[in-house]
């Protein structure tokens, strides 16, 4: 080591903050440029207009796009529908993941626990389109779902909102199961024993001890399922029939009317920010 290097090392050692700054400045710069930069460009471009005749962008500062998004019932309906679908997907995933994660972490023997974990994780490696089209095949007229449901007098829901909810719930389920599984696994046995010891019956222990302790995990999982559903635009194209979600409104406008697409895409961003703020108030993010 040459003396200047050594001096630098010494200086850095004595100033932990400087050391930290030097260490994270490169990734921070990348984050600022690539991530926040893109967001800023998005926001700025939402204030431009597209010339209706030439389809060129007029760099004139105005708020027409936002006015359109907020007043046109088409966009309001799409936004509400998207919100409803994302909420339904999150709820369904939470309801399915809760007992599954509990079983995996607390009931299953170590061997079957590993198998179940692999079973939950494997679909994550399969391509998104492959899974979506697999569902398209299953849901289509005369498909597997029809065939299974026929003896019970039912049939495939066809292509529409229910199909979108089903497929999105399937796609994002692992993102709900994994944090819940970890939370259940880390739940100390002695806390459950202590609750019973103090006179609590199992249901009371569940409500008073288990639920509060796994709540942060449910919220972490819901951030995934909710925001992933909110931004989805492929599933709805494949199994949604004529259903429109914010994602495909944006996607179809990107080439036609970029400023309007930018204005529309501010909606899910705002919804997510609002959701995160609401979640933060519950204190669930403190341990993340």
């Amino acid at each position: 080591m040459t003396p200047p290097v050594r001096r630098l090392a010494g200086a850095l050692h004595r100033r932990p903050r400087l050391r930290l700054a030097a260490l994270i400045s490169a990734p921070m710069a990348w984050l600022a440029l690539a991530y926040l930069g893109a967001l800023v460009v998005l926001l700025v471009s939402a204030f431009w207009t597209t010339n209706e005749f030439t389809s060129n962008i007029d760099y004139l500062w105005n708020t027409d796009n936002f006015r359109t998004v907020l007043t046109d019932p088409l966009y309001r309906n799409v936004a509400l529908r998207t919100l409803g679908i994302a909420a339904a997907v999150t709820l369904i995933d939470a309801v399915i993941a809760f007992p599954m994660a509990f079983y995996m972490a607390r009931v299953a023997r170590p061997r079957s626990r590993r198998l179940l974990l692999v079973a939950v994780l494997t679909p994550l490696w399969a391509g998104y389109l492959v899974k979506a089209y697999a569902w398209w095949v299953m849901l289509s007229h005369g498909g597997v779902i029809d065939w299974i449901a026929a003896p019970f007098g039912g049939g495939s829901p066809g292509f529409g909102i229910p199909a979108v909810v089903i497929v999105l719930s399937y796609l994002w389920l692992p993102y709900m199961i994994l944090p819940l599984y970890t939370a259940f696994e880390q739940l100390p046995d002695s806390l459950l024993a202590a609750s019973g010891d103090l006179g609590a019956r199992p249901w009371r222990t569940f409500v008073g001890v288990v639920l509060p302790l796994v709540k942060p995990a449910v919220i972490a999982g819901s951030i995934f399922t909710f925001s992933l559903s909110l931004g989805d635009y492929l599933t709805v194209q494949i199994v949604g029939g004529t259903t429109q979600m914010l994602g495909n409104v944006i996607a179809s406008n990107v080439t036609l009317n970029l400023p309007l697409a930018a204005a529309v895409s501010c909606v899910p961003v705002l919804i997510i920010v609002g959701y995160l703020l609401a979640v933060r108030r519950t204190g669930a993010l403190d341990n993340l």
Binding site: P188, S190, L191, A193, A194, S195, G196, D197, L198, G199, A200, R201, R204, G208, V209, P212, L213
Partner: protein, 370 residues
């Protein structure tokens, strides 16, 4: 060791008319092929400070968990206050537990932790608040009521766990090595505090420890566990002065065993004998032993200075080795070191010799030649 049994504890008198706080009869617990607890009979009297002492893996925790109801015995019966509770769930038993890791609820404040049991039992809010405040005062944690467990020190957490259990006024309190995680000084303080709280509350304490000093200083009676069985039950003095088995002699206090030829030469009869080191007097080889004394000549091979005491390790001429303790009334470490290599005579009162049965499970405390 002082010989001070509490009012409720006669030496080993016939059963009192009041039912035992806890009674185990023939209790066995097998985990697959492992017999963690192997046919235990035990009676714990009401108001008693009862310790279960034994090495790691001897089954103490398992017995405690069967009393609390977390574990169901594979054989035998558990009675609380004369009622058979063998098949009852923990929430239906009038006992509370202080867990080894405290098991405080991390999402609740200290006060809410203490109130938990009362809330579950639907005690009205006003009474709940009052009793929780009392319990916190009893463990001197009034000022910490609003904190979360994560914001407390180990000793404070331990006291919260104690308050959380005591506030329910159980008939029996089970404590699984509650002081295990504390440093020595705090441990000694908590020993005194626990004992005081137990005396004031009048609650039966069943206290698990693997620390023999802790068991000897705190308990009214001690059960010594070994490999899933009880080797001896008795007052601290009985267990210490008259260990029933080789195991008890070795586990409680320093083991000073003589057997085979050496025992035959020293005691005139072969067998297995034990003498506590502090009973042994070290004298000049030419000094005669008293009429009521046993004696054995030997050579000091090791001198260990330990502040208040010095430990002399003596190899006997008859074979075998004894350890003798002496208070350092006048001598310092430099003085005692020069005794190494001297020839001495060890002497002790005949009644302090304890004859042991080599086989475990045989609990006859007074099997010593007097």
């Amino acid at each position: 060791m002082t010989d001070s049994p509490p009012p409720s504890t006669g030496a080993s008198a016939a059963g009192p008319p009041v039912p035992s706080a806890v009674a185990l009869s023939g209790v066995t617990k097998a985990f697959g092929a492992v017999r963690a607890v192997d046919g235990i009979d035990l009676e714990i009297r009401a108001g008693e400070f009862f310790s279960m002492l034994g090495p790691s893996g001897s089954g103490k925790t398992t017995v405690l968990r069967m009393i609390a109801g977390f574990e169901e015995p594979t054989g035998g019966r558990v009675l609380l206050g004369g009622t058979d509770v063998t098949r009852l769930a923990p929430f239906d038993r009038d006992v509370n537990t202080v867990f080894q890791d405290y098991a405080l609820f991390p999402h609740l404040s200290v006060r809410q932790n203490v109130e938990y049991g009362l809330k579950v039992k639907r005690v009205p809010r006003a009474e709940r608040t009052r009793r929780a405040a009392e319990a916190l005062a009893a463990v001197r944690l009034e000022d910490f009521a609003a904190r979360r467990p994560a914001e407390l020190s180990g000793g404070q957490r331990q006291r919260v766990a104690l308050a959380r259990a005591l506030v329910n006024r159980p008939s029996v309190l089970l404590l699984d090595e509650p002081l295990g995680a504390l440093d020595l000084k705090l441990r000694l303080e908590m020993q005194i505090e626990l004992k005081q709280i137990q005396r004031e509350a009048g609650i039966t304490f069943v206290f698990v420890t693997h620390d023999q000093d802790e068991a000897l200083t705190m308990s009214d009676r001690i059960a010594v566990f070994n490999a899933g069985r009880i080797e001896q039950v008795g007052t601290p003095a009985e267990v210490y002065e008259h260990p029933a088995t080789e195991f008890v002699a070795g586990f409680v206090g320093t083991s000073n065993l003589l057997q085979g030829d050496a025992a035959a030469q020293v005691f005139g009869e072969p067998g297995l004998y034990s003498v506590r080191p502090e009973k042994i007097r070290i004298t000049h080889p030419d000094d005669p032993a008293g009429p009521d004394e046993c004696s054995a000549p030997g050579t000091i091979v090791e001198v260990v200075y330990a502040g208040a005491l010095t430990r002399f390790v003596v190899d006997l001429e008859a074979g075998g080795r004894l350890v003798a303790l002496r208070q350092n009334v006048e001598e310092s470490s430099t003085d005692v070191a020069r005794h190494r290599g001297s020839t001495v005579l060890l002497a002790w009162q005949r009644r302090h010799t304890v004859r042991l049965s080599a086989r475990p499970g045989n609990t006859t405390p007074n099997d010593n030649p007097q």
